[in-house]
């Protein structure tokens, strides 16, 4: 909450500043420019800093807001305030259309795409008759609300900073919500998000539209601030400069956006106002200074300047979980204990000429722990990806509780109650363990973007976090709950992944090498936990190399080698199975009584 109070105080000071006697008028203008830029940069904080989508095109999106206000007031005689919802809607609609294509762009194609449409829109603004071509639209009436006119600079100033305050608080609310966690999970790739029922493309579209609405708001204010709109403030260089602000400030935080907007706008002002006294034609040097600064900053402070400031600020208090939080509803066992919950039939996966998984058949009975073992490269993780819908089957099928799940997609599979962990830990290292685990409860919440912005999601959030905390305690990591997940040992991070999977309340748990990196004592604890889950009716399928762990825990073992099932049966049978021994130790090895730890190495 302190962050919000600080933001309110800061905005209040800035809003009241013009009433200080002798406050220079050009400072008001400068602060307005900062506020307008900070609104756009705040959107970029969520889009780029948190969501990882780099956009050079925000200025063009601001153009939609500005031109909507200009056209409706000058050509259709609308009252200025009435144009606000339309301006925001137009920006959102434009973002929805652009975003529909843009968010599907992978990796570096995405920022290039934003450059492409950013340029195209700029040229378009300059060519359309409706928008006054290159001359733009002038004599926009001042902003009025009923009898109050905001023509006077100090009043418009209050509106601009009020808008920034609202944007900032809405953004803080968004980041601290179920949708916010989904957005944050984007940086870890769509596979992890999908495993918890988050549609990556939908989450991307949400942030894209959100950032565009903020850009549109800034553009709308700009139209009344300047009383005129021309294409040039919406060109690609302006878009670069907004991104620059977010990067300079520290792209992950609202304060970073404000700091970035402040620094860049102030710097530009200094170059334009102060330097002419020192050098003639100093406007020439503006792009050089900015370009050089950007490169220097990337080299010396890659996370932006705000994190440097933050070091001197008190640490945020750990999240409190109200004792009266609601309990989330559980899930009934989809099939009675002992009957088959998962069936893999003739599952085959080919990557080009390589058959990674070759006509594999096996099943998991409800309330059973089944291990999938085999030497490195046997196709175990591929099998996991086939079951969870990350990869599509080349042929064969997978069914869960009697329903065919092959081809229905990652999210639907997660909804049915299959949760997983990853061989290569996929946590968000900067987020606390608690928040990481709460991500697992995504499908158990309902609240969307609007509820998050208005903070109407508190009861549900409390319930989700209470559930997450319960699962963290259950796996024995209660003391680490509020630490950043990245600060834990790798073995512990795997356990955090199990807690996250459990928060989904699954009926089938898929664990990819859960014991790797654990100490002997911790393995014992994990083994106990899994036994307890089994006694509660949970079904578990695990991939593991630690044979001691596997033999002592599991009910049934499936052995893969080169993508083909070579054996299947209870641990005692597998231990002596000649094909298994040959696969692991080579043909010449004699069966020994205690050859439990066959391979301890992790797959690369």
């Amino acid at each position: 909450m302190t962050n919000r109070i600080a933001l309110c105080l800061f905005a209040a000071i800035i809003i009241l500043a013009p009433f200080i006697p002798g406050f220079p008028p050009f400072w008001i203008i400068l602060l307005d420019n900062i506020g307008l830029a900070a609104i756009v940069a705040t959107g970029l904080v969520v889009l780029t800093g948190v969501g990882g989508l780099t956009s050079f095109g925000q200025a063009a999106l601001a153009g939609f807001g500005a031109y909507t206000a200009a056209v409706l007031t000058t050509q259709y005689g609308w009252s200025p305030l009435a144009t606000l919802p339309v301006a925001l809607a137009v920006s959102a609609l434009a973002a929805l259309l652009l975003g529909f294509v843009t968010v599907r762009l992978a990796g570096h194609y995405l920022p290039l795409g934003t450059i492409a449409w950013g340029l195209a829109l700029y040229y378009l603004f300059g060519q359309l008759e409706l928008l006054g071509r290159h001359d733009g639209i002038s004599s926009i009436p001042p902003l009025t609300v009923g009898p109050i006119s905001f023509h006077e600079p100090a009043r418009l100033h209050a509106v601009i900073w009020g808008a920034l305050l609202i944007s900032g608080i809405a953004t803080l609310n968004l980041l601290d919500s179920r949708v916010g966690r989904a957005i944050r999970s984007l940086r870890r790739g769509s596979t992890m998000a999908g495993a918890f029922g988050i549609s990556a493309s939908q989450a991307k579209l949400i942030v894209f539209v959100y950032a565009a609405v903020l850009a549109g708001l800034s553009g709308w204010l700009y139209a009344f601030f300047q009383s005129a709109v021309t294409p040039s403030p919406f060109n690609i260089n302006a878009g670069i400069s907004y991104l620059f602000m977010a990067v300079v400030g520290g792209a992950g935080q609202v304060w970073g956006a404000i700091a970035g907007a402040f620094i860049i706008t102030e710097l530009r002002d200094v170059i334009q106002r102060v330097m002419p006294a020192l050098i003639t034609d100093s406007a020439l040097y503006e792009p050089i200074v900015f370009g050089v600064l950007l490169i220097v900053l990337l080299q010396v402070a890659p996370d932006g300047l705000w994190p440097l400031v933050q070091r001197f600020l008190p640490e945020a208090k750990p999240r409190r979980i109200p004792a009266d939080a609601q309990t989330l509803t559980g899930r009934d066992l989809p099939v009675p204990r002992g009957s088959e919950i998962l069936k893999v039939s003739d599952a085959t996966k080919k990557f080009g000429g390589l058959t990674a998984v070759n006509a594999v058949n096996f099943g998991v009975k409800s309330g059973e722990i089944v291990a999938l073992i085999g030497p490195n490269g046997a196709g175990k993780s591929t099998t996991f990806n086939l079951i969870t819908g990350v990869l599509s089957l080349s042929s064969g099928s997978v069914s869960f509780a009697g329903q065919t799940i092959s081809g229905i997609g990652q999210q639907r599979i997660a909804e049915l109650g299959i949760a997983r962990t990853f061989q290569h830990v996929k946590l968000l290292p900067d987020m606390s363990v608690l928040e990481n685990v709460a991500l697992g409860g995504h499908l158990r919440g309902r609240k969307g973007l609007l509820a998050a912005l208005l903070r109407a999601d508190r009861a549900e959030e409390a319930a989700l976090f209470a559930e997450a905390a319960r699962q963290i305690e259950r796996v024995g990591l209660a003391e680490h709950m509020h630490k950043p997940a990245g600060s834990l040992a790798l073995g512990q991070q795997r356990i955090v992944e199990i807690a996250r999977a459990l928060t989904m309340n699954p009926s089938l748990l898929l664990l990819d090498e859960p014991a790797a990196g654990l100490r002997h004592f911790e393995k014992g604890q994990l083994s106990q936990l899994l036994s307890q889950l089994r006694s509660e009716g949970m079904s578990v399928l695990l991939v593991e190399h630690d044979m001691g762990f596997v033999m002592g825990l599991t009910d049934h073992i499936v052995v893969l080698d080169f993508g083909t099932k070579i054996a299947e049966g209870p641990p005692d049978v597998i231990r002596k199975h000649p094909a298994v021994l040959e696969a692991y130790l080579g043909g010449a090895a004699e069966p020994r009584e205690r050859s439990e730890t066959v391979s301890g190495g992790a797959e690369a």
Partner: protein, 343 residues
């Protein structure tokens, strides 16, 4: 539209397309070796064109002064990076590379400005190409291991700085150079100028040259190895820092050649390069930043689309060309789909 206009548009499209192809090659080359999406490529074109125009007009171009400055900053970077193990041989090499050569080029530019077309041409390419490695040393080498996105943002910063420097060193006035030759032949109803022919010849020669460089020389193979796997290349003893510099020298040289070819055909301003470079980009991206022949074909297509759209909807020429990129990016994204795209 009659046949003559059609032929004109085709010729115009192919000529522009050939220039875009050259830039596309440079972009593919730089991306493959360094993973930098090299937004400032267009600035090399503007630098090349303006340098050439000034030399031809008997003036000393700003780039001749810019080169020693860049080299000096790069020298400071190297001295700082190597401060604990500076040897005589190191100083000698650095001195030649970063003081003697740039000053020699400056001297040559002062002495030989306006002497002949050929000397202007050679000097232009030498000066602009020499900027490339220093630029890499200053802006990109410290970020070499960072993500493609960080490198892209750095490239945008470099673009801004170079545009600004262009304005400072060349001024806001546009320049146009004299044609390389007044030779012209008529192909049916269509006159083909020597300048057009020079563009085609240069493009073909550069394709051949790049092919020879990458297939037949150790340096070229080292560049390709770095492109495939940076770490692997380093493990077998390739100096990946060096390959980045070579890549940028080639890119700057190609940019300079494109600039020289373009200078007699259109007026070039300090900031003209950006949009020209971006069209090379459209071509390079159509080819997935990977294939030279595909880039050439795509570049010709871009040139033709541009030339026809400037005839039918000249106001919307840029809108059309850049909007075209979006479906291409989309197709590329789906083609390069991998199961996990972490940052």
């Amino acid at each position: 539209m009659d046949l003559t206009i059609l032929l004109f548009l085709v010729q115009d499209g192919i000529t522009n397309g050939a220039i875009y192809a050259l830039l596309g090659f440079a972009l593919v080359l730089v991306f493959a070796v360094t993973r930098i999406i090299f937004i400032p490529q267009g600035e090399f074109v503007a630098y090349g064109a303006l340098t050439y125009a000034m030399l031809q007009g008997g003036h000393v171009p700003g780039t001749a002064y810019l080169l020693p400055i860049f080299a000096f900053v790069a020298l400071l970077f190297d001295l700082y990076a190597e401060r604990s193990r500076i040897t005589g041989a190191f100083l000698l090499r650095q001195g030649i590379e970063k003081i003697v050569v740039p000053l020699a080029l400056l001297f040559a530019a002062r002495e030989m400005a306006g002497v002949s077309t050929v000397s202007s041409l050679i000097l232009t390419v030498a000066i602009v190409a020499a900027l490339g490695p220093h630029l890499y040393r200053i802006a990109f080498q410290p970020l070499a291991d960072r993500s493609v996105l960080v490198l892209l943002i750095a490239a945008v910063g470099t673009h801004l700085a170079l545009t600004g420097l262009g304005l400072v060193f060349f001024g806001a006035e546009g320049q146009k150079a004299d044609a390389l030759t007044d030779f012209s032949i008529d192909l049916g109803p269509l006159p083909v100028s020597g300048q057009n022919i020079a563009v085609y010849v240069a493009t073909v020669l550069l394709i051949a040259g790049l092919y020879w460089f990458f297939e037949r020389t150790v340096q070229g193979k080292a560049l390709r190895a770095t492109a495939v796997n940076r770490l692997g290349a380093r493990l077998v003893g390739i100096r990946t820092k060096g390959t980045g510099k070579i890549a940028l020298a080639l890119a700057a040289g190609i940019g300079a050649v494109s600039g020289v070819l373009l200078a007699p055909m259109t007026t070039i301003y300090y900031d003209t390069g950006f949009v020209i470079g971006l069209k090379g980009f459209v071509a390079a991206i159509i080819a997935g930043l990977a294939s030279y022949p595909l880039t050439a074909a795509a570049a010709i297509a871009v040139g033709l689309i541009e030339s026809f759209s400037s005839f039918f909807a000249s106001d919307y020429k840029e809108v059309i060309v850049f909007t075209l990129l979006i479906p291409v990016l989309l197709v590329r994204s789906f083609a390069s789909k991998h199961t996990d795209e972490e940052d």
